[in-house]
């Protein structure tokens, strides 16, 4: 890092001030009145910058307490969860692709074959999954909602979480063997399957937070809630809103609707209540 002419006088003076120069550089500064004057200029600003700015009273309590609450709450979009969701969808897409390939093979055997069909059937499942999760998938939008009952049904539809008083979850119509498979057509933009029971329910987990500010407000206000199961946008009673579904410590889901502007809670209820 030793400097040979032509050198930057500011860099030399600044490094001298910090004691980060070679003996030769130090001698250069000490023998040059202009450089020594520049060192003094820099010393003044370094001193001003080093003067402490005390934090606002009470800020340590407030910020640390909130950081512990929010930071230790299960994250909706942790890397592990994203990877798990990705593997889960990949498995579904691979199964779908395999079914397509089998179909194509049957076509080839029974028919004269069609190359375009081959390309479609062999469509890159992993690429499709990547597309679904690229850059944090867009959150789902539940549209216009006027009542809690309507919201309950929408959330149940979007997540597959059981809502006791809705007909969205109909196990009799979804044989277990099929319910494990998720095809692209089953997946909402947020990576959330739109139909059928989901085990586990990664709905919305891959999405980037719609509003971190509202998420923090909510988790801080409701310390009893645990992991986030789902988030989506909606227009609730004509107000642009965010719908969150969180698990309680006993794993039962609870729905919160907050205004996007200001994070005020508009309604909340137990999904299975």
């Amino acid at each position: 890092m030793a400097m040979t002419p032509p050198f930057d006088p500011d860099e030399l003076a600044s490094a001298y001030l910090d004691g980060e120069v070679t003996p030769e550089e130090a001698a250069l500064v000490e023998g040059d009145p202009a450089l020594r004057a520049r060192v003094e200029d820099l010393r003044r600003v370094a001193g001003a910058l080093g003067s402490p700015v005390p934090p606002p009273t009470g800020s340590a309590d407030r910020l640390v307490e909130r950081a512990v609450v929010v930071g230790t709450a299960p994250q909706a979009r942790s890397v592990d969860e994203r990877a798990r969701a990705r593997r889960w969808v990949l498995a579904g897409l691979s199964a779908a692709a395999a079914v397509g390939i089998l179909g194509l093979a049957a076509n080839v055997l029974l028919d004269d074959g069609d190359p375009t069909t081959s390309q479609l059937a062999g469509g890159d499942a992993s690429q499709e999954a990547d597309d679904l999760f690229e850059g944090g998938a867009a959150p789902a939008d539940l549209g216009d909602i006027e009542t809690d009952q309507e919201l309950r049904e929408q959330v149940a539809d979007a997540t597959g979480l059981v809502a006791a008083d809705t007909e969205a979850f109909a196990p009799d119509e979804a044989p277990a063997a099929e319910s494990e498979d998720v095809t692209e057509s089953d997946a909402a933009p947020g990576g959330a399957p739109t139909s059928g029971p989901l085990v586990p329910p990664p709905a919305g987990e891959a999405a980037e937070p719609i509003s971190e500010e509202c998420e923090i407000e909510l988790v801080t206000r409701e310390p009893a809630i645990a992991g986030q199961l789902f988030q989506a946008t909606a227009t609730y009673e004509d107000e642009a809103s965010i719908v969150y579904v969180y698990a309680r410590p006993d794993d039962s889901p609870v729905v919160f609707v907050v205004a996007r502007d200001g994070c005020e809670e508009l309604t909340s209820f137990a999904l299975d209540g």
């Binding site: 500011d10 860099e11 600044s14 003067s51 700015v53 340590a60 512990v68």
Partner: protein
């Protein structure tokens, strides 16, 4: 930081990773003033600094499991906090609130007024220093770290640290003397 401080940090980190929230709380409070200093100097005002510090503390908590103990906890903490504050400020698209004129220093009234005027002048001056330079400058002058530590924290070569600090200081001197540069120096 003494060796004893580092051992205390290591014990708190270990306990925090086992789920001890009290240990986590104590650890964050031990380092709160450092977090605040970085975020306050980078943000240039209390409001943005509080938001940035909050985000930085949350990131620290969420990443505590990733601390592998190879570097001192403070070095790791400075890295996480500096990055979190810079990211937060960039995300918000905020720079320190620029003050059109550097406040006059009250020549014959030393004391608190002068300190406030100095403070405002530094905040105003820093608004003219690009974030990359500001980060190096703050770690050096406000946190008293050496070039090697800053290089490790910012993940840049020591020569770049030296250059950024020099250019940041020069920009600050210009700003405080009222010679606002027409164009911010470009980070290297």
């Amino acid at each position: 930081m003494t060796a004893g401080d580092e051992r205390a940090d290591a014990a708190l980190v270990e306990a925090a990773r086992r789920g001890d929230r009290r240990a986590l709380d104590v650890l964050l409070r031990r380092h709160y003033e450092r977090v605040w200093t970085i975020c306050r100097r980078l943000a240039g005002n209390d409001d943005d600094a509080l938001d940035a510090a909050q985000e930085a503390l949350i990131v620290l908590v969420r990443r505590i499991d990733r601390y592998d103990g190879r570097a001192a906890f403070t070095t790791w903490m400075y890295r996480v906090v500096t990055n979190a504050c810079v990211d937060e400020l960039r995300r918000r698209g905020r720079r320190p609130v620029p003050v059109r004129e550097v406040p006059e220093r009250p020549a014959d009234r030393p004391g608190p007024d002068e300190r406030v005027a100095d403070q405002m002048a530094v905040d105003a001056g820093l608004a003219h220093v690009p974030l990359e330079f500001r980060a190096a400058l703050v770690l050096r002058d406000a946190c008293d770290l050496d070039y090697g530590q800053i290089a490790e924290i910012l993940d840049i070569p020591p020569g770049t640290v030296r250059s950024r600090i020099a250019r940041g200081r020069a920009a600050l001197v210009d700003a405080l003397s009222g010679n606002h540069p027409t164009r911010s120096p470009r980070p290297t």
